[in-house]
Symmetry: C2
Subunit: 337 residues, 2 copies
């Protein structure tokens, strides 16, 4: 089998040449588990933190030995667990950068290939989509008339958050993204009402223009500083979802991520921390609801895909630098065997 | 008439000798308003900020001219407005440090002296009580099984917050206060399950012991730093009410009041800003509910009272320094004419 591992421990933002593609002996099928032929691999920002031992207390993978962790979609090749048989398609958060994954049955969600394109299970129907959905519907409870601001809006989490806000009746959804191409994606394909390019001079004025009557909800995925920008546009009783602080994933010191409590009081704001793990039990429900939106074209996530495991490191470096456009995924092997 | 005014503008924490008791010509009864004989005057921390022009954008009173602003309970002496007649008792947030107040009818809430002791309208049934009630019932929605942490617990806001938390089914209510006497008040008269003295060495360990299973709700009235202490004990999905940051009312620069967004996310916390103004429309409803608790002795606020307007400045200085024990009020004139 092939896998991609770290060459050595990293204590900074990982780069493409931190990784090596290596050959290893194929794993045997574990008791109570399956062997999965990996077809699609998801690349996500949290993995950058995970590689440094900074994610939820989880240990980093062993250099030149363990596959880099990652979510996968694949086909069961061999099974020693009830409920999964060869030929079944599964999604697992516990996969990795490899072509064959040995997984416990409990770490696999069985997929129905007729429900939606299998690639969608890494984006709109995957962990990023579940995250956006949970923040918008379970925490902020977006409904009719809400005015919603979403940053990192071209990414799969922000993109889904904004689209689901619209699907739930939001009056106006405004995105923030970096660069002309990302902003075009957000307004043209994701259907946001406006998208402000934070790399452009005068972007704060542009944001004020895009929110002439302020906002009632914001979905924060970048930094505490951006949350404070959002709060400066908050109407009284605005709700804010604090989902991620990707800007600080690779800062040198553990940052304070300061939010100004006085502003929260003055705006009567309601801030809510989100960790998507808590919503895994609702994933299958979400998937069934969202699959219909995907089939209808009402929920779209752009893909930034490469072919072959050997190209995962370069795409991951682009993701770490925010140079990707849409959901990063690797086509490890074909969807039809 | 008599009134207490600032001698000169202040740009620091006010002290007793910043004030002067002066004689002035009695006001005439305003069109659509009343003249009120002030019986009780409330001293509250926000007035310290108000005197410096730091409170909700309101202008400070003119030195040697305007009475220091403050909530009052008094008896209508003369009326030129519908619905109020001489002999009626009223509460007003727009009174001042004076023995006769000229007030618009709309700034007065009529009181029923049979409902509860008139003094209670400055504490348990007054603005401090309404604040505690709003935070506990309307924002945090405290119910059965909640474990609630309240700081500034010996004060009227914190004291009411904790007692109403208990009345609403909280399993455990823990206070934080400064000094042995305040802590005894909190546990013995207010009925909190425990109170930690933050002036005592090892108080952080004592707090951890008082919250062996963490907290589900905190009511913050002191500082962002204390909110972070509370968050360090938060169970997942804990709710935090951000009510006041009195520790910073008289700091020299406008403080950042930093809350760590990363901790809010990790704890899945829900933080809510509270401004009591928003609940004034519900004040009469609250008053009727809480009056029953007051009559039954289920809701108690200790009073730190002095007699005579001339003693208001010294009591106010004690309040500014946190040396008061309970609700600060001034007996300006008798409750029975």
């Amino acid at each position: 089998m092939k896998l991609v591992a770290l060459k050595a421990p990293v204590d900074r933002k990982p780069r493409a040449d931190d990784f090596a593609l290596i050959e290893a002996a194929p794993p045997s099928c574990p008791e109570g588990g399956v062997l999965v032929r990996v077809a699609r691999l998801s690349l996500d920002p949290y993995v950058g933190s995970r590689l440094r031992g900074r994610h939820m207390g989880e240990a980093p993978p062993a250099p030149m030995k363990d596959a880099v962790p990652g979510a996968v979609v694949g086909e069961v090749a061999e099974s020693r667990c009830d409920g999964l048989t060869p030929g079944d398609w599964v999604h697992s958060m516990d996969g990795g950068w490899c072509d064959i994954a040995a997984l416990p049955g409990a770490a696999c969600r069985k997929l129905d290939p007729a429900l939606a394109p299998l690639d969608a299970h890494l984006g709109a129907l995957g962990m990023p989509g579940l995250t956006g959905w949970a923040g918008i519907t379970r925490l902020a409870e977006v409904g009719n008339g809400d005015v919603v601001l979403v940053d990192a809006a071209a990414g799969p989490v922000g993109g889904v958050a904004g689209q689901i806000a619209k699907l739930n009746g939001a009056a106006r959804v405004v995105g923030v993204a970096g660069g002309v191409e990302k902003c075009a994606l957000v307004t043209e394909r994701y259907g946001f009402d406006a998208c402000v390019d934070y790399k452009k001079e005068g972007w704060r004025d542009a944001l004020a223009e895009a929110l002439p009557d302020g906002l009632t909800v914001f979905f924060e995925n970048v930094s505490a500083d951006m949350a404070m920008v959002a709060l400066s546009h908050a109407r009284p009783y605005a709700r804010g979802v604090l989902c991620g602080l990707v800007d600080a994933y690779h800062t040198d010191q553990q940052s304070l991520h300061p939010l100004n409590a006085g502003v929260i009081i003055a705006r009567r704001a309601r801030l809510m921390g989100l960790v998507v793990y808590d919503y895994y039990p609702q994933w299958d429900d979400y998937m069934r609801t969202a699959a219909e939106w995907v089939r209808e074209g009402a929920l779209v996530v752009a893909e930034d895909a490469v072919d072959g495991l050997e190209n995962a490191p370069a795409l991951f470096e682009r993701l770490m630098d925010g140079r990707n456009i849409g959901k990063c995924l690797v086509r490890v092997s074909p969807l039809t065997a």
